[in-house]
């Protein structure tokens, strides 16, 4: 670097001062010396043959005293807990850092995926408006959307803001916490998708669509109190793995999918509403393709641990004993809404049977069993 020759001289316009551009020849390969070919992050074990971009931007950003963090955490909690404390979950593992988010979420994918979801919903609504499909809707269906679809937004909001939001502070690695934070945004976005859809319908059906009734329904309609209780209990639970487990392994399949797929998406077409399924279908797919996928992977990682797998399985079965009854009660509580719409293409029992099968399939994939004392 001894001879640095400016190739442009500043000052072409007199007074202005601009930095010089200097050719430094500092690009990769310009010289060969020890280490000049070391062009990948070398401090973690990639899952596959080569590290993915997701791994590169995620792994070890949250350090660990058991790994490279030689001076340990610098701030602690008043009760003596470490900055990130392994005791914040009952799960145990020989290696926290094994888990990878199968969705490989990082900043680019988060914005691309969520912006696509937003656009998809907006386009569906715009198309429906321009084709004026609303005149074909069976008007008896409107109160169902006003009351029940909109009440569901509270569940999503509660899970996003007060379950996944705090959970993403608590996990032991950046891989866990980033996956959970993306889950958090899915829930919050869906809650708002539903609210803005509600706003559209309020404007499209003036005087016919009660945009605000959902608040009363969520708080006081007996059909919804089980769902609300389940969500509120999740909001108060603290073990971050338990939060993911009880939300995504138990509550979502038994209650969320039951409501979205088993009710809204089945009943809407019968009332000539082909729009709502495409609105709520976005979040249904997001849960199935993304949030459930990472959660199952995370649980399998704990269950497959060579030392602690068995103990983890026992804990998860305790969690099932604790949470399945709330979710079953929440699901069964919703039964009356199956008889509210004018046309009833499917009975509650049929929908619930599907949800239960789906739940059992997830459990059997994980190798877990619902404790005998719990009735599904």
């Amino acid at each position: 670097m001894s001879e640095l020759r400016p190739v442009t001289e500043a000052g072409g316009r007199g007074e202005r001062s601009i930095p010089k551009i200097i050719l430094t020849d500092a690009e990769a390969g310009a010289a060969k010396f020890a280490g000049s070919d070391s062009r990948s992050y070398n401090y973690f074990e990639p899952k596959g043959r080569r590290a993915t971009k997701y791994e590169d931007v995620t792994v070890d950003v949250q350090p660990d005293p058991k790994r490279w963090l030689s001076q340990s955490w610098l701030y602690g909690w008043p009760n003596g807990d470490l900055g990130y404390d392994p005791r914040w979950t009952r799960m145990q593992t020989t290696n926290w850092h094994r888990f990878r988010d199968p969705n490989e979420e990082w900043e680019r994918t988060i914005y691309i995926n969520n912006a696509n979801s937003v656009r998809q919903i907006q386009n569906s609504i715009e198309n429906a408006k321009s084709e004026n499909v609303f005149q074909d809707w069976n008007k008896s269906w409107l109160p169902i959307l006003a009351k029940h679809l909109s009440a569901w937004a509270h569940a999503d909001h509660g899970l996003g803001m007060y379950v996944f939001m705090p959970a993403q502070r608590a996990g032991m690695t950046n891989m866990h916490n980033n996956a959970i934070s993306v889950n958090c945004m899915h829930k919050l976005r869906t809650a708002q998708d539903i609210m803005l859809y509600n706003l559209e319908l309020t404007e499209l059906f003036p005087g016919e669509f009660d945009g605000e009734v959902h608040q009363e329904v969520w708080l006081n309609d007996p059909a919804w109190q089980g769902v609300r209780e389940n969500v509120e209990r999740l909001m108060n639970a603290t073990d971050w793995v338990q939060l993911c487990f009880a939300s995504n392994i138990v509550f979502e399949p038994l209650v969320g999918e039951l409501f979205r797929s088993g009710f809204i998406m089945r009943f809407a077409p019968a009332h000539n509403d082909f729009l709502t399924p495409s609105v709520i279908g976005v979040s249904e797919r997001e849960f199935n393709d993304r949030d459930l996928t990472y959660t199952v992977e995370m649980m399998k990682d704990f269950l497959g641990d060579e030392t602690h797998g068995e103990a983890n399985k026992e804990v998860m079965e305790e969690w099932l004993a604790e949470w399945v009854p709330y979710s079953i009660a929440a699901a069964r509580g919703l039964e009356p809404i199956w008889s509210e719409p004018e046309i009833q293409p499917v009975s509650f029992e049929q929908s619930f049977e599907r949800a239960r099968n789906r739940f059992e399939a997830i459990l059997s994939d994980l190798g877990l069993r619902v404790p005998e004392e719990v009735t599904l």
Partner: protein, 545 residues
């Protein structure tokens, strides 16, 4: 989305919140502040449906620019002096960013105001964005810059390095302890509102002057999210200010947070901007000038001082003291000198200063040469391995500093060093305020009131303790700061890309490393008093080696 419909949408989503009745909500994160429900509005009025497409658009611009820089071969004109410091900066910054994401639930749990929670959710995912976008930028540097060593070990090095640790406390300060202290005052009111301009606006302009167009692209995009975060912070601060009994705590936290941010951020960014640049135009701003503009005028005078209308006393004395440290006590220059002394424990290279640099420093900081010129000449003379040891172990007259227990920056303003027996051991502090932070602020009681939510200073806070009595060769091996030939060191006190000029394990073998903290605690009272007195007197750099 059109702005008008966003406003309407934002109003609508307020219908989502409710008060739980099946459980009594037990906040997972606590505060000793008194807060009452509701109150402040979220002025930014964003909804997810406006947010995601807007951010995606920003991303398109960033990634377009990255592609452009790679295709246009930016690294032909990038200054190695600058890029080397990015090995440190970009190893640190993704952790504070991700910590800011992790900090958000402290407030969503502790703050009874659902409207602000919505703003905090955007901040949470913004910060995930910042962390991973910066990791990706660093990955591009590693792949395209002439010397990838140091980038290749980035997060490991961040975790086990003394300077990484100093930076790490900045991020840890956001996420642990009292929810308002950590997430609101430390992160939002001080770190984001006072210091992100120097971090994310001043740094990029210096990067560009050194041929690096990527850092500006990424960091200005990051900075464009910050106004949302400052707004979150302001709303929360006003909620805290609504109760007189919080004033004591706000004042405590502002003093701690201001001083800690100054100690950490000014040390690092000041060094990058003043010592990491090859742009020595006399009319380009020095760090001190930037600080005066961004921190003193824009933040202190326009944001902090006006808070006094709420009956608060803002830390005027500490703002002036920070300026005094920067301007009269050579804070940034002392830091750069320490970084260069400590090159043997770094994972980046430090380019020696040239006559042109000297001239610029003397112009910007009159008196600089008398104080630092000789030492930097010694550094230059000792930069290539030539039978001598790394400069820290040669007799230049420089006294290797003890560390501040609180901010972990070395006690470089020698005369200000505080020595005290705290929690069963002798500790040193860089300043009265750092002493107070450990001894008074981070405790279970403050001014006679219980503060059960307050965090604690923990960890092995003096890095040197870990390697006391070790051979320097073993220190290198343990840290992993050895290149892939198994013997050449990652750090070098120069930017020659030539094996014959590079330091190897052979050059550092047989040197014993010592910890000032261990030594101070082993001394008799008399020895310690003497050491303290001498230390405060400072040192004189020898004219010749």
């Amino acid at each position: 989305m059109a702005r008008r419909s966003v406003t309407k949408a934002h109003k609508k989503i307020q219908e989502l919140s409710w008060e739980p009745t099946f459980v009594t909500k037990d906040p997972k994160y606590k505060t000793d502040y008194k807060l009452t429900k509701g109150g402040q509005k979220d002025a930014m009025k964003q909804v997810m449906q406006s947010y995601f497409p807007m951010q995606e658009e920003k991303d398109h611009r960033v990634y377009g620019a990255i592609d452009g820089a790679i295709r246009g071969n930016m690294w032909r004109q990038v200054q190695p002096r600058w890029m080397e410091w990015q090995k440190l900066f970009l190893s640190i910054i993704p952790f504070p960013e991700i910590s800011a994401a992790r900090a958000m639930p402290l407030l969503t749990e502790a703050l009874p105001n659902p409207e602000i929670h919505n703003g905090l959710a955007f901040q949470m995912i913004d910060e995930v964005r910042h962390s991973t976008i910066q990791m990706n930028l660093k990955r591009e540097y590693m792949r395209n810059y002439i010397d990838p060593a140091g980038f290749d070990i980035t997060e490991r090095a961040f975790s086990n390095n003394y300077a990484g640790t100093i930076g790490r406390q900045f991020g840890e300060g956001f996420i642990t302890g009292d929810a308002i202290t950590a997430c609101n005052i430390y992160l939002q009111v001080i770190a984001e509102t006072a210091f992100t301009n120097t971090l994310f606006v001043a740094m990029p302009s210096e990067a560009a002057a050194n041929g690096d167009y990527l850092l500006p692209t990424v960091f200005l995009s990051v900075q464009s999210d910050e106004s949302r975060h400052m707004n979150n912070g302001y709303g929360t601060l006003l909620m805290a200010l609504a109760h007189d009994e919080n004033k004591d705590l706000i004042e405590r936290d502002m003093r701690y947070a201001w001083w800690n941010n100054h100690a950490v951020v000014d040390a690092a960014i000041g060094t990058f901007i003043d010592y990491g640049s090859k742009d020595r135009r006399k009319d380009r701003e020095s760090y001190a000038e930037m600080w005066r503009r961004w921190v003193y005028d824009d933040y202190y005078r326009s944001y902090l001082v006006p808070l006094e209308k709420y009956g608060l006393t803002v830390p005027h004395d500490l703002v002036e003291e920070a300026w005094d440290r920067i301007w009269n006590k050579w804070y940034v220059h002392n830091t750069a000198q320490f970084f260069a002394t400590g090159w043997f424990a770094n994972y980046w290279r430090i380019d020696p200063m040239t006559e042109e640099d000297f001239e610029w420093f003397e112009h910007k900081y009159p008196g600089w040469y008398d104080r630092f010129g000789k030492w930097w000449e010694h550094y230059r003379d000792l930069s290539e391995p030539n039978g001598h040891k790394p400069i820290a172990f040669e007799n230049t007259g420089y006294v290797y500093p003890c560390r501040c227990w609180t901010c972990m920056v070395p006690c470089m303003q020698r005369e200000d060093t505080v020595l005290d027996y705290v929690d069963g051991e002798w500790r040193t502090y860089c300043s009265e305020t750092c002493h107070w932070t450990d001894k008074v602020a981070f405790r279970e009681e403050y001014n006679g009131r219980p503060t059960p939510a307050m965090g604690r200073l923990t960890g092995k806070r003096e890095w040197e303790t870990l390697y006391h009595g070790w051979d320097l060769e073993d220190v290198f091996k343990d840290l992993g700061y050895v290149r892939n030939d198994g013997k050449t060191l990652v750090p070098q006190p120069h930017v020659h890309f030539d094996d014959s000029k590079m330091w190897t394990l052979d050059h550092v073998r047989g040197i014993e490393f010592q910890s000032p903290r261990v030594l101070i605690n082993e001394m008799s009272d008399e020895e310690r008093d003497k050491w303290y007195e001498d230390y405060k007197k400072g040192f004189t750099i020898n004219n010749t080696l």
